[in-house]
């Protein structure tokens, strides 16, 4: 009983992991930018949610009206800067790590390094759940799961069925040839990075619904989110979703069957195995970009 409940809870939490990883995965896969600042955008999204909800008593879900456009613009602006600087894939890692440090320190200066969380008065979702028979589905992760399916599903369809999506995939495959066929890589690149920024705002809001915030939280996301990106296959959206759910499921089940302390060991052993056996990711072959 505990195992099944933990598996269900883990899968729901995996939705949040997938949503956090999707923006990073797609910008890495398509634009060749390993954007660690994405963690910073999620952090800012989470803190803005906290601020708007706590100070202005806005329903946390409605804060997306402010945070998504803000992170959309920030994400796009960063990509414009990357384009202007013509940074390589490796340099993007170093540059965006610096940006992340700046963002984390700015968040510390504005909101302090102390733990912050929305009170029960402004965030009733934190302790709510939906009961189905003997099983319980926590509302914050249920939201995250549903939103992850919706956003990643839509993004996948856009990439598969629209001209912009096809242009992006062509650009990811061969930049020179895509350019020769009239793909304006700068425009589609900025649009993709901006959308990724918007998704970071959503992920940040969903995280803040169920968790306390500290500036260092951004670094704590690294391990799990990169695990999801690598297992899912860099740039593969459906792979990222599947990997997120798998990581959540594994983490939940291992916690119950063995011990929570064993879960990271199992998870990262799996990543090492995946890199050895399927370097492009567990789900890369079965899904298209």
């Amino acid at each position: 009983m505990s195992t099944i409940q933990a598996a269900l809870s883990g899968i729901l939490l995996g939705g949040l992991y997938a949503l956090m990883a999707a923006g990073l995965s797609v910008t890495w896969g398509v634009l060749r930018v390993i954007n660690l600042a994405h963690f910073g955008l999620m952090l800012v999204g989470a803190y803005l949610t906290f601020e708007l909800a706590s100070a202005w008593h806005i329903n946390p879900l409605w804060t997306l009206v402010v945070t998504v456009p803000a992170m959309f613009v920030l994400g796009g602006a960063l990509q414009l800067a990357f384009d202007a600087l013509r940074i390589s894939e490796l340099n993007s890692l170093l540059l965006t790590f610096g940006l992340l440090i700046i963002i984390v320190q700015s968040v510390s200066n504005i909101w302090s390094a102390d733990f912050q969380r929305m009170t029960a008065a402004v965030n009733p979702y934190a302790t709510e759940s939906v009961r189905l028979g003997r099983f319980v589905f926590p509302v914050p992760t249920l939201f995250a799961f549903a939103v992850a399916i919706l956003i990643i599903g839509c993004a996948h369809l856009v990439l598969r069925r629209t001209f912009a999506g096809r242009a992006l995939r062509a650009y990811a495959e061969d930049r020179a040839v895509a350019g020769a066929f009239g793909v304006d890589h700068r425009r589609v690149g900025v649009l993709l990075a901006a959308t990724s920024g918007g998704s970071a705002a959503v992920a940040g809001m969903l995280f803040s619904l169920g968790s306390s915030l500290t500036p260092a939280t951004a670094y704590e996301w690294f391990g799990t989110v990169f695990a999801v990106v690598i297992l899912g296959g860099v740039g593969h959206l459906l792979g990222t979703l599947s990997a997120g759910l798998l990581v959540g499921l594994l983490s939940g089940v291992v916690s119950v069957v063995l011990s929570p302390a064993t879960a990271p060991f199992v998870l990262f052993s799996l990543i090492v195995l995946a890199l050895l056996l399927r370097p492009r990711g567990l789900f890369a072959a079965r899904t298209a970009r």
Partner: protein
Amino acid sequence: MRDKTGRVLVAVAAATLLLGFVVACEKKSEGGGGAPAASGAPIVVGSTLSLSGAFAATGAIHKIAGEAFVDRLNAEGGLLGRPVRWVVRDDESDQAKVSMLYEQLISQDKVDLIIGPYATPNILSAMAVAARHKYVLPQHTAVLAPLLTYECQFPGWSIGSTPNEFVPNQLLDAVASLSTPPKRIAIVTNQNGSTDFVSYGAGDNKVGAVSITRQRGLELVLEKRYPPNFSDWASLATQVRDARPDLLINNGLGVDPVNLLQAMAQLNYKPPMMFSLFPAPGPPLGLGPKADGLMSVSIFEPNKATLDRLGAKATAVVNDFKARATTAKLPYTVFETQAAASWNAWEILVAGVKGAGKIDHQAICDSLHSNGADTTFSGHLAFDASKHNFWPPTQTIKQIQNGDWVTVWPKDRAAGELRGPAA
């Protein structure tokens, strides 16, 4: 009618003048009527604090407490008649920087005295430098007595020489006093170095909450360890719920108990009793009634009964800290354990210097060993070098009652009654 109005105006004016005179006199007496003003070259106290990085949230508390202490000390005539200046550097929560900065403070800046940084790993780094230069090191919060071997380090917070035995025994003694004491115990432990030893012991001493629970004949229904950056609280909450403990002991820190309580609330479950070792004090209060009854450890809570017992100075310190913390926009502005430990460390430093009568580190160290130190919040502290200067613990158990932390155990220092599951 006009005469009557005039008389009233004259009376009001006279009363205002009289009131102004009284206030002016009071301000004058506060400003230094009692103690002679400090003069001469300042005594410089050097230290680092984690003002950024992982420990910054608590580092900010120690900075405010230290500033308030130095301001008060100078207003009361300074130290040895000289003003005191505190030089504090940001160690960025980095142990390597702590060593470098303390070395710099002592060797290059030639500070007269030093005081500890915040957080055990940083304190251990500072202690190594202090020992090398034979400087006295009062420190705020490191309680792992076996590791703090330098004879001139003096702790501001003590859980005795075996905290891994003291904490579980104190908690289980407290709950044993209830009319229906808990029999089924669950222990979930953060593998952080500051918490794991309370469940499983440290070094050769493997006694801890787990073994003590068994020794006392209580049923250990769940025992789990989780990593420091754990996030899958739902799975742990499920296991706690299914184990049906009477008492859940969470040897965790930070927001661990909040995450766990929240995950359990999502399962529509709350354990009859719950204890958490080192939680951030503010966040559990934000959970409202869902956190009511949560217990933890404390060396000081500003409950009215406690403040009444300690006197006016303690109340003034607590109020001053609150005002400063509010200005600094700390989320939780209450003067409690961390700030009290900080205050203790500063009072130890001052007591040592006054006892020695000069800035001589060996004399200060000897004076503290011989005479101890009087503190506002923990009373007289006696330092025994054979116990690494860890004084008999004054640590208490506190409990959230009606949205506030209240000291509940031991009874002679309690400000309220420990509430059992039925309360």
